[in-house]
Subunit: 189 residues, 2 copies
């Protein structure tokens, strides 16, 4: 299983946002929606072996984590509004400590990065890391940030994680995921 | 200059569509918006050396071509609605045979693929092509299709073009652009 966790530092944590204002009122939720797209969509079908964890840290009720399972997800189309609509439905439910399914293959729970990094051995992605093309082996779990850098607390949590790079330019999180999956696709042959 | 041309077989050709229904009423215009995003955005800034040509073939007034210039574009954010809004403004103008600027760095004209392929030596992208990682040199201009395969007429127009592949899986057009730009970024160093 390949896992991507994306931190949404300002991402809204209630289901009352407008799907027509995800960059604004929903706290750059558009970025997380694009990460769902690039993680899960192939030209004909879904990447069934990928899970995406969205760590939502914005107001009014942080932290919350939403999981999209490539194996189980339904009613998801590639456009941003489609992922946003499923996130909105998940956020409309009361969240507890355990993942609860909101729509098929989409789950929500309270909690953020500390709960995630204890569950899986994540790697970070940064231009300073080991080039994914030349690394002898690649990890299964990757941690990314939205348009904001990691906070000091997050850096401490992630500080001991191995670091990989997808290339010489600093890319958006969703583009980084695409390049990484291309490398994994090539190695899977 | 790097150029991407993306064919939108059903993409609406008037400015009267809803930004909240780009996959439906606007004829999968969401795909073209994501191609604008992946072609032009870096984490900090724009790819000033890239141009994107959107070939719109849907009703009511096909064909039309919209050009986004990475060097000149303004008022563009990464979300789909932002690109959609600039496309809508371009389509609201009367289009002639020459490109006309609708907002800074966005241009529209009548005409489709035949006009484009005579202007630039395009290459096609397809899994059957030469791997972009091993090709001794890479072209500057690439032709992609939306969720539909090329028509017979388009295949004839594009039949003599060289074919390149970004990897073993069939990817969405926007993801293909991301992988290709990563290869070009690595070669530019």
């Amino acid at each position: 299983m390949i896992r991507f966790a994306v931190i949404g530092h300002l991402a809204h944590t209630a289901g009352d946002f407008s799907l027509s204002d995800m960059p604004g009122g929903a706290g750059r939720l558009d970025i997380l929606c694009r990460c769902v797209n690039t993680s899960l969509f192939l030209s004909h079908g879904m990447r069934r072996d990928v899970e995406v964890y969205l760590v939502l840290l914005g107001q009014p009720d942080p932290p919350k984590t939403i999981l999209f399972s490539g194996e189980r997800v339904r009613y998801l189309s590639p456009d941003e509004r489609s992922a946003g609509s499923l996130i909105k439905k998940a956020l409309a439910l009361p969240a507890g400590d355990e993942f609860r399914e909101s729509t098929p293959g989409v789950y929500i729970r309270k909690g953020g990065l500390p709960d995630l990094v204890t569950g899986f051995p994540f790697a970070r992605l940064d231009e300073s890391g080991t080039d994914v093309r030349t690394a002898p082996a690649l990890p299964e779990n990757y941690l990314l940030s939205d348009h904001l850098n990691m906070t000091e607390e997050e850096t401490i949590l992630a500080g001991a994680l191995p670091v990989y790079s997808v290339g010489p330019r600093s890319l958006h999180a969703d583009h980084t995921i695409t390049v990484l999956l291309n490398e994994l696709d090539r190695r899977a042959l």
